[in-house]
């Protein structure tokens, strides 16, 4: 099963995605962590996420960019967190944005379940610098491609999942 999880910041996307992982497959669970850790706030965020999934038997693979470089065993159940960071890293840290979608497709074909987390960054009505606008455009396109691949797209609204595509899996 391929699931895309979206929603605003701090809305419980990760928590729901992890619960979903629990219900999908008990073994060969892989967590792909994409966030670059550069300050205390990001360290705290990583710490909170690590504690959240401490007893959930994930193998964590750090992959800030070039998703194809992550060695994911066939038949794994993968939680990819998240497309927002992956896109930012490819775009602003000497990567290549265009390799994300093909890599997602390859990843999806290798694993038995793929849960991708992204974020709704698009509704604040602000005007940003050209590079940020371009980033938003790329991320939106990647989100759309990911949604097309997905059997289910869920928006998490303050812990409540709302189905945008397909039926919500029972978690």
């Amino acid at each position: 099963m391929i699931v895309l999880v979206t929603g605003g910041s701090g809305c419980g996307k990760s928590t729901w995605a992890e619960k979903l992982m629990d219900s999908l497959q008990q073994d060969r669970r892989v967590y792909i962590a994409t966030m670059q850790v550069y300050d205390e706030e990001s360290r705290q965020r990583v710490k909170r996420h690590r504690e959240q999934r401490a007893d959930k038997h994930f193998r964590t693979i750090e992959c800030e960019k070039d998703l194809d470089s992550a060695e994911i065993p066939e038949g794994s159940s993968v939680l990819l967190e998240d497309l927002v960071n992956l896109t930012a890293n490819e775009m602003f840290d000497n990567g290549e944005v265009s390799r994300i979608v093909p890599a997602l497709r390859r990843l999806a074909s290798r694993c038995s379940h793929l849960v991708m987390v992204t974020n709704d960054l698009f509704s604040d009505g602000e005007e940003y610098s050209t590079s940020v606008q371009e980033y938003l455009r790329c991320l939106a396109e990647i989100n759309r491609q990911a949604a097309e691949m997905a059997d289910c797209v869920a928006e998490v609204v303050y812990s409540v999942p709302v189905a945008l595509k397909g039926e919500l899996p029972c978690v």
Binding site: G7, G8, S9, G10, D124, V132, V157, Y158
Partner: protein, 109 residues
Amino acid sequence: MKLYIGGAYQGQEELARQENPAAEIFPDFHEAIRKAVLAEGQDPRTFAEQFCEEHPEAVVTANEVGAGVVPMAAEDRAFREAVGRVLCVIAGKAEQVTRCTCGIGVRIK
């Protein structure tokens, strides 16, 4: 306990009052969260759980604040996080969650 959320000025408070004329309403709860967590330094989860315990019949209305590009200012990021953490707890305990857009409520829980 019931929770009504939505973007700014989407009519969540009016709808909550309409649908719950006899209930005690806690409007603009994101501002209460700003005060408790950011100004007074309370832990979001503890604050939320204590509120739910003290007001099990409350009807809470709040703005959704998590959408959009991550703000540059640390305090703005902390505000979004705090509102998220607290409202996740309240939504979890609420028997009903309604999301309001243009005055129209969609029940999501």
